[in-house]
Symmetry: C2
Subunit: 490 residues, 2 copies
């Protein structure tokens, strides 16, 4: 705890890795690429889950659960899906171990599966295999199901929260009678994600569509929300896919319309992952440690007693216990850290590192004066507050901090969208300033790939509300109907 | 929906299988032994989760998440654990697929793992591998962590909810400085489970200890709660294990005590699974379908309009909308089924099958009279209720139904505990009446196994609060210090 973090300006990547571990969010396990999400990190994920789940249900979705393992043959049914997904994945080939003659435990070769099973990298195939049985008539539609689950993609280079072999997520899978309704659903969830990140996580996002090259395997259209990290790199924070009739055709899911016709069903899928916690850390935190928006802070207010003897601690505790009751009535989560084994300075550093939004220190002088010392994590400022005003002050400050973090992140993001008109400018901005680059592109996959090869920047999205400003592609000079956003990305 | 269920008296097992599918709780997937938990079944599981999670947190536990895959070598570290567990399990051997020359998708033999990974059948080993890094001093103790997760055991004979290859559960894993504290924790959770089943699920349970032969692999003591199904078979509904220092020794987890000594850490683990939903179905339901205790019913009250034309439906809807607001203010979950595509009789049958505790029917006559028809699912009785008294009536009935279901199950269970004093009597009761048999046993594993071989009955538990009634073992006649409970079990 005493060891300082690497500064962001020195090595942003190292700062992030250290912070996630030191703030007790997560750590690497003994299994390659798989993380342990520690209680403090998981408590943040639980807040993400609770709020999203509420919003999903308010928009008419239900939860369900589908199998972890998917037969290999299911993946091959949708050609572009298997290309995009199923290659780097964990394959189950046997179902038994046995004790060998030398006493060691080995795989029982007699227990080999006839068909290999894949640990789900995403569940479209297993879910559409079920939907075939559930859907006969227009009366069975729409189906709007979400699943909270673990998934696995065999990533070679992993980083805590940002890219891990196993991660937690939610995946929505909906089935509709018409194209219009499915598109509307994909857009509804796209907007729901954007609002959630902005209102609840204080992370501003850009809404757009992916290029064909960057689409989800099997999708006709992928809507994305893109956030900007403090190092100028973009982070894809959530996607919502319009899948057309691709999965319905692959799994032969038809329904009888009101008029007695047979049609294929229209589909969407959409998801966000524990990656959001990585985005949260990299959007708001600073060289002192985590900075958590009050909405997501497992502890919103910590109270640290300053005392020299038991008598003083007792007197402080009496006053603090009343405060705690008042805070809890207002649904403010509060922790009284009365551990005698650590000194106040150590505790201050710990809660700073862990991003607790407000810290109250209270000692004998404060008891005399009827005050406390109140410190804000976001601005690192302190002030004395009268105990009588404390509850109001704290309630207001929690709202203010939430808003302040959003505004700060929004300003940073807005300052880091740069229009460029030549490839030289493109490279210079990318190199020196980073962030999103709004540039003209000729619309071809070849150009997109060439720019990526030359600069490592990818097209993050085609803006949805883009003005139709014509121009020339920064690379080829060919005609372009509007700008798209490039960036280096996580 | 129109097809009737098999009667319980005809074929209890068939009745159960049909009911789970027809009531839309779950179904088999295309993957052997793995189920799809459908929205209605998952909604019940969410209620189980929410209430248990609240109780875990109130007793000082935090949630976290550990990896799905466990290296094979971890299992072999605790000898009795690997014997009990790791044999029938899903083994991941490869991490990539590839496209073969003929275009088919095959496992890439180049992507073979150096060490096989096991899909967790339970997480003691991966968790204690982490705890070694987390625990140095007595100040790091206790650790009280719970995980909500999926696990997998390669069962050969599977049944929806009762025994599936993959299932959902929670697993608590705690670490303590002393034996006493760990034992206390194991007992605390044992009691928490018993209270939860009784108060919340209306399922009476018997609390006891497992015999050595029936203990969890690696445990020094396994506390169990045993429920009784309507066919007279017992169902183990939850277990809490005192693990001693076994896992601490296997994973070398020591801590420095207050006095500077090095000690191994003491452990517990405890869990309940989606099997609870099977127990719920088999405890309360009848030949008409599910019967759900109000605490666990996704829909507590359904309102079905009876009408001949749109005008009547409009008039009914106006009255119903006011009822809905009143119910929601009291946190009563209500559904107004105004689907025009189905007739009332069809709807009645559907909600009976799905176990909705209360059904309100309202037609033009009721509007005139200011009444509704109110039907109870548990007793299948109906009465007319004045609309002005409806809210109070419904609130009271929901409590009454919850209590009634518990009492009914408790009576059945109490009637099915039979004391026997000879092996002939043992076999006769087991054959003709079923239920729990309280019999003397000589305390040896050999006798326990022999009785199982001869009768299929196992020792469900040694009672905790047993009177020290001495006697003679029903099989061997050897001396016995007290009776234990035998039963055939799920």
């Amino acid at each position: 705890m005493s060891k300082k973090l690497t500064k962001r300006s020195e090595d942003y990547s190292k700062w992030y890795n250290e912070l996630v571990v030191k703030a007790d969010l997560a750590e690497n396990s003994g299994v390659r690429g798989m993380m342990v999400i520690k209680p403090y990190g998981y408590a943040i994920w639980e807040k993400v889950q609770a709020e999203l789940d509420k919003r999903f249900k308010e928009t008419g979705h239900e939860n369900a659960y589908f199998p972890l393992l998917i037969p290999k043959s299911y993946f091959t049914k949708e050609a572009s899906h298997v290309e995009g997904f199923a290659k780097e994945c964990a394959v189950v080939t046997h179902y038994r171990l046995k004790t060998a003659d030398d006493g060691s435990i080995i795989v029982d070769e007699k227990a080999k599966l006839e068909e290999e099973l894949i640990i789900r990298p995403t569940s479209e195939t297993i879910i559409w295999d079920s939907y075939r049985k559930w859907i006969q008539s227009y009366r069975d539609l729409p189906i709007k199901i979400n699943q909270w689950a673990n998934v696995m993609r065999w990533e070679m280079r992993t980083r805590l929260f940002l890219r891990t072999a196993e991660f937690l997520w939610q995946e929505g899978h909906t089935a509709h009678a018409t194209k219009e309704e499915a598109l509307e659903e994909a857009q509804l969830m796209h907007n729901l994600y954007a609002d959630f990140l902005q209102d609840f996580m204080a992370i501003p996002v850009i809404k757009g569509e992916k290029t064909e090259n960057e689409r989800f395997g099997g999708a006709l259209n992928t809507f994305t929300i893109e956030a900007l990290m403090q190092d100028g790199k973009a982070l894809q924070a959530g996607t919502s896919h319009f899948l057309g009739q691709n999965f319905a055709k692959a799994f032969d899911v038809k329904f009888t319309t009101n008029e007695g016709k047979q049609n294929y069903v229209w589909a969407t899928s959409w998801g966000v992952t524990t990656r959001l916690i990585g985005a949260l850390v990299m959007t708001h935190s600073d060289d002192q440690g985590l900075v958590l928006p009050p909405n997501l802070a497992p502890i919103q207010v910590v109270i640290v007693p300053i005392y020299r003897n038991d008598e003083q601690l007792d007197a402080i505790t009496k006053v603090v216990n009343k405060m705690i009751i008042a805070f809890k009535e207002k649904n403010i989560s509060v922790k009284f850290d009365n551990r005698t084994t650590y000194k106040p300075g150590f505790k201050f550093a710990e809660y700073e590192l862990k991003g607790v939004p407000l810290r109250i220190a209270i000692g004998p002088k404060d008891l005399e004066n009827g005050t406390v010392e109140l410190a804000r994590r976001d601005t690192l400022t302190k002030e004395f507050v009268e105990q009588d005003n404390l509850l109001t002050k704290v309630s207001n400050l929690l709202v203010e901090i939430q808003n302040n973090l959003y505004k700060k992140a929004l300003n940073f993001r807005n300052e880091h969208i740069t229009k460029v008109n030549s490839f030289e400018e493109f490279k210079r901005v990318l190199e020196n300033k980073g962030g999103f680059i709004a540039a003209h592109w000729d619309g071809t996959i070849a150009t997109e790939k060439e720019i990526k090869k030359l600069t490592k920047a990818t097209i993050r999205c085609i803006l949805l509300d883009t003005e139709n400003e014509e121009g020339k592609c920064v690379l080829t000079g060919a005609v372009s109907k509007s700008r798209v956003l490039f960036a280096k990305a996580y």
